[in-house]
């Protein structure tokens, strides 16, 4: 047996190496920088620098890319325009997320617990808080997650897919558990997320094993070839394909694999919810695109039922249950489930258009999500004695917010309108291109349901707008809400609001960039 050293194209790996390298360096910072405050500055600087450097490198890659892309690690990984587009998108979410991680209240309170390893409400926790401890590990953890997600968009091998999945999932499980307030809720959400995540990973692995059993390889190209050469339809192949896809649908948050979403969204520290909501969905969609278009494309007809069922179930359940939510974060969690349905609509019939429509859709959805949660992080409850408590996430608490803080409420309204897909917001263009892709493959009944679901979903988005602008603050509640001011969170709000508007009014340039990204190097779809 001879071992051949693989040819590694280092340049296309540069963004990944930068991000994961900085994450590793961040661990060292934890060990060597002693004072919490200095450590925080160092970690923040390192994270932002790494993300921006990776962003720049990825953009340079895009500019220098010859033709469709490069095979990087033999069959394991491909860096093509599609992967670069997703990586850039995830890096943008990474930067915005890092800014949110760094935001604090006026009193200097962060979103994260001072010490993750102690029991909630214990004496140790009080001491840690008094001593000004900080869990600055959140920055390297976020970097690991970003790196894993970037890898996730480029892998072309089932085993490597699983590795990337775990690389970005594990840091997220930890991050979800680190909320400063309502820590039991945070722990509960994290544990559920972890358990169900492990369950779904098992399903994905099981599916990969089936496919390996049927085709003798784990590489996408090999699987595609194996499916093509199979005589008749092998139940092993079909079951394997379904299970791999289900594993990815779990991360997208589609029904019936959505159960973790409301609990994790609500329990996680809001900055983590924002980052997770935007970036996980994008990365999982990117991976799903690659699996479907590069490995399972020949099964289009057989798999269409799966996509139809899950898409319809997600849209309906997400919309209907969001209608009756009273907690803002849970409402947005169900809204994200409905959006998972809209994402899957674009897959119906495996249209070529989805390759460029989905990055735009996820960009518009992710930006609005980050913006909305950034706004939520700024609206706080205030105790009778004036101390600022946690976020005010009960819907009723937002009544009259438009009068208290017209700009913040206006930005929130913009994000909500974008979720609803109202023209002149990015969300409208996103839905338009995604549904247009589905129509092009003849899935118009699905699009019809999607449009009706969007219309129904507009109800609960607009309800919040009405609450913010047309409802008065309840009697005696005038001082119950505090509008926080963190420059970091405000920056995120401004950037995302501007982007949502810009993508809504002049989507042309970005659309044409993603148009270029709609090509896979090894696409069975061509």
């Amino acid at each position: 047996m001879s071992f051949v050293t693989p040819e590694i194209a280092w340049a296309p790996l540069a963004p990944l190496i930068i991000v994961l390298g900085a994450a590793a360096a961040g661990i060292l910072v934890e060990s060597f920088v002693r004072t919490p405050e200095r450590r925080r500055v160092a970690q923040l600087t390192l994270a932002l620098a790494a993300l921006l450097a990776a962003f720049g490198t990825a953009v340079v890659q895009w500019a220098m890319l010859d033709g469709a892309g490069t095979v990087v690690l033999a069959d394991m990984m491909t860096v093509d325009r599609q992967a670069l587009a997703w990586q850039v998108l995830i890096l943008v979410f990474g930067v915005l997320g890092t800014l949110l991680f760094a935001s604090r209240t006026r009193a200097g309170e962060e979103a994260f617990t001072p010490l993750g390893s102690v029991a909630p409400g214990s004496t140790e926790e009080t001491i840690a808080r008094r001593k000004g401890f900080q869990v600055t590990e959140v920055f390297p953890l976020a970097l690991f997650a970003v790196g894993g997600m970037m890898l996730f968009t480029a892998v072309t091998d089932l085993i490597f897919l699983f590795v990337a999945l775990e690389v970005f999932s594990l840091p997220l499980y930890i991050l979800v558990a680190l909320a400063r307030r309502r820590r039991f809720l945070s722990h509960e959400g994290a544990l559920k997320y972890f358990l169900l995540g492990a369950f779904s990973s098992a399903i994905l692995l099981f599916g990969a094993a089936f496919l390996y059993g049927a085709t003798g390889t784990t590489a996408y190209a090999g699987v595609a070839a194996g499916i093509a050469s199979a005589t008749g339809l092998d139940p092993l192949i079909l079951a394997g394909a379904v299970m791999v896809i289900v594993g990815l649908m779990f991360k997208i948050g589609a029904v019936p694999f959505h159960s973790w979403t409301p609990d994790a969204y609500q329990g996680a520290p809001t900055p983590v919810t924002a980052f997770m909501g935007a970036a996980t969905k994008a990365a999982a969609t990117a991976a799903l695109i690659r699996v479907v278009y590069e490995a399972l494309y020949a099964l289009e007809w057989e798999l269409s039922l799966l996509f139809w069922i899950v898409a319809i179930a997600s849209m309906l359940l997400g919309t209907v249950v969001a209608l009756v939510q009273t907690d803002l974060k849970r409402m947005l969690a169900y809204s994200s489930i409905a959006h998972a349905g809209f994402i899957l609509v674009a897959f119906a019939g495996f249209p070529d258009g989805a390759l460029s429509a989905l990055p735009f859709y996820l960009a518009s959805y992710g930006l609005a999500t980050m913006g909305a949660f950034a706004v939520i992080s700024q609206v706080r409850e205030r105790a009778e004695d004036g101390t600022v408590l946690g976020e005010a996430t009960r819907l009723g608490q937002w009544a009259g917010l438009g009068k208290r803080s017209p700009l913040l409420a206006g930005a929130m309204a913009l994000f909500l309108l974008s979720f609803a897909g109202i023209p002149l917001t990015a969300g409208f263009v996103g839905k338009f291109v995604a549904f247009a892709a589905a129509i092009s493959s003849g899935a118009w009944p699905l699009v019809l349901i999607a449009v009706v679901a969007s219309a129904a979903a507009a109800f609960f988005y607009v309800r919040l707008i009405v609450l913010m602008f047309l409802t008065d603050v309840p009697e005696g509640q005038e001082d119950a809400i505090e509008i926080e001011f963190s420059p970091y969170a405000r920056t995120v709000v401004i950037l995302t609001a501007a982007a949502v508007l810009l993508l809504g009014i002049v989507p042309g340039p970005v659309l044409s960039v993603f148009e270029n990204a709609g090509v896979l190097l090894l696409g069975a779809a061509g």
Binding site: K192, P235, L238, V246, P256, L305, V321, L323
Partner: protein, 626 residues
């Protein structure tokens, strides 16, 4: 300089913005900025005019490209200006008369606390009006069209602390909207039929269009013209528009804006060339309105409303001429220009009278003002002679031509149109003489606190200049067919046609009718005593005093059914649409409540959901696949 014509619009617009945004500190001198802006526009126009006169007649059409406005698949539209003899005529009229009226307003509005705002609106009007006439496409024209509508609305309601003035402004705005719909529909038709909105492409395409298409566009444009120019059946707003300050009535509701409809028709000549039915409708509307306006004018005691009725009637003449086709276009514009001078002059005269009489507008309380206000009397008198069509004053040269042209044709048409124009001339003579005699002659019927005096020079000088124009402009422009030749590149060369009656006969008949009208008015309002309160009168007079019951008709025909329709719709909306939506929403909410129960917080049941879901989809896919 022709390329710099955009300054004509930009300068007044900038000045308007400056005055509106500048705040109170501009109050002491802001109005002079407004005057200067209008004056600058006039100078720019004058230089452009001189330059244009130096060109050969077929080179006088000059296109100015401003910017690419609507670049798009099926509709490509650039914003640009079309500087040709027709638009230059309007530019000169608007800026010259406009500047004089700005000047007049400095004195007229002296004691008004919001004089700065007034001048800002006037400047806005000038800019919008110039955009209207200079635009090279219907869409850009529409921008100006709406702009003058806005300025008109703001200025009619300038003293909106009086509710009836605010109502008058609303009325003008609403009626104008009806007309605007006509223009929008016309543009929609053009886009559907020709895929273009700029004059050049539309007129080129009109050659190959069917008569039905052109008739539809022509009629829609006529609706627009009727709204803006207060022609039947959209005439009801003009009388109430007199609520605005008198200089506004002079500039907007006499000399310029209300003639925009005539401009629209003449500009759209190539469309009407292929739509004889639409053209005849224009003439018929014009003839009808000119008689209607004259009849209303005969019974009005409010000096401004009488002048407004006269404006309506005179624009009827212009519409009539415009509806006659190429033989009438030049005369329509000619009459528009002379009318702009003498009617603006008379409105300023009326303003001067009101200025001296404590804002009294009831002519029954005037009388014998000729001695108290000599300048006003003389300048008004020149306007009066001009509108009567007495040779050699301006109106004679323009109106007589329209009457002659109306007699051209075959069948009954020349007799009806010509007859209307002829009778209209007699009626005009009567009501204008009535107005003139009641105001300046006879016995003084002033109330006790009125001490008439002549107005300051800042007001009389513009009146004198306009009076000189009323007197001689017509003669100057008519000599050697100067004006018709000037407009020929736009309106086309008109073949000479003989009227059904010999020209001298028409002219003599006109003059005899005018003389009769003046004589009758003198008998009743000059020589005899005029009662200070309107006497009981015949049904016809009462109808005329009430604007031929136009408001009652509108209320009965449009407002009441409209109200009932909206009430029915509101009810249906609540009972059917809302109820259906509410029921559906309620149903979904209940569904949501029951589905929500599956999210029970138990991680084992979550995992079970996933597992069951997975098994189901695998079974479905595998069953479906095999």
């Amino acid at each position: 300089m022709l390329d710099l014509t955009w300054l004509l619009i930009a300068v007044p617009l900038a000045s308007s913005a400056f005055l509106l945004l500048g705040g109170k500190r501009l109050d002491p001198w802001g109005h002079w900025v407004g005057v200067a802006a209008s004056g600058t526009a006039f100078l720019v126009g004058l230089v452009a005019l001189i330059q244009m006169l130096g060109l050969d007649s077929h080179d006088r059409s000059h296109a100015v490209h401003l910017f690419s406005w609507i670049p798009g698949g099926e509709l490509n539209l650039d914003a640009g200006l079309l500087v040709d003899p027709l638009s230059m005529t309007f530019v000169m009229l608007v800026t010259f008369v406009g500047t004089l009226i700005h000047l007049y307003s400095v004195a007229y509005m002296e004691h008004d606390p919001s004089r700065r705002r007034f001048f800002a609106y006037l400047n806005l009007f000038v800019a919008a009006m110039l955009l209207l006439v200079l635009a090279d496409s219907y869409l850009l024209l529409f921008v100006g069209w709406e702009g003058v509508g806005l300025a008109s609305y703001l200025l009619i309601g300038f003293w909106n602390h009086k509710p009836e003035y605010a109502t008058a402004a609303n009325k003008a705005f609403v009626v104008n909207r009806v007309g605007d719909m006509g223009l929008i529909i016309a543009m929609g038709l053009m886009f559907t039929y020709f895929g273009a909105l700029d004059f050049e492409s539309v007129f080129a395409a009109a050659d190959g269009a069917t008569t039905a298409q052109l008739t539809a566009i022509g009629l829609a444009l006529l609706v627009a013209a009727c709204g803006k120019s207060a022609q039947f059946p959209l005439q009801s707003w003009l009388g109430d528009a007199m609520a605005g300050p008198t200089p506004v009535s002079a500039l907007i509701h006499a000399a310029t804006m209300v003639t925009a409809g005539v401009y629209l028709i003449v500009r759209s000549a190539p469309i009407y060339a292929g739509a004889p039915a639409a053209q005849t409708t224009v003439a018929a509307i014009g003839a009808f309105t000119l008689i209607l306006g004259a009849l209303i004018g005969m019974a009005k005691d409010d000096i401004k409303k009488a002048l407004a009725a006269s404006t309506m009637s005179q624009i009827g003449y212009m519409m009539l001429a415009a509806g006659l086709g190429p033989i009438g276009y030049a005369f329509a514009i000619f009459h528009l220009v002379t009318h702009g001078f003498f009617k603006a002059g008379m409105f300023l005269g009326a303003g001067s009278v009101m200025h001296g009489m404590n804002d009294q507008v009831d002519m029954r309380r005037f009388g014998a003002l000729r001695t108290a206000m000599v300048t006003t009397w003389v300048t008004f008198g020149l306007g009066w002679l001009a509108i009567l069509g007495v040779p050699p004053f301006s109106g004679f040269w323009s109106k007589d031509k329209i009457i002659e042209a109306a007699f051209v044709g075959e069948g009954a048409q020349p007799w009806i149109l010509g007859g209307a124009a002829l009778i209209g001339a007699g009626l005009t003579a009567f009501y204008m003489s009535r107005l003139f005699f009641m105001t300046f002659h006879g016995k003084a019927r002033w109330t006790d606190d009125q001490h008439p005096h002549e107005s300051p020079a800042l007001m009389t000088v513009p009146m004198i200049i306009l009076a000189v124009g009323s007197a001689f402009l017509g003669l100057f422009l008519a000599m050697g067919d100067r004006f018709s030749t000037w407009l020929e590149p736009v309106t086309g060369h008109a073949e000479h046609h003989e009227p059904v009656l010999p020209v001298p006969v028409i002219m003599i008949a006109t003059l005899v009718l005018v003389a009769l009208g003046v004589w009758a008015a003198w008998r009743k309002y000059g020589a005899a005593d005029v009662p200070e309160v309107a006497p009981a009168a015949s049904l016809a007079t009462i109808a005329a005093r009430n604007d031929m019951f136009q408001d009652s008709v509108n209320r009965g025909v449009f407002e009441r059914p409209g109200t009932h329709l909206t009430r029915t719709l509101v009810y249906a909306d609540a009972a059917l649409v809302d109820a259906a939506v509410d029921k559906t929403a309620g149903g979904w909410a209940r569904t949501g409540e029951s589905v929500r129960k599956t999210q029970n917080g138990q991680v084992r049941s979550y995992a079970l959901t996933m597992l069951v879901g997975l098994v189901i989809v695998i079974l479905v896919v595998v069953q479906g696949g095999l």
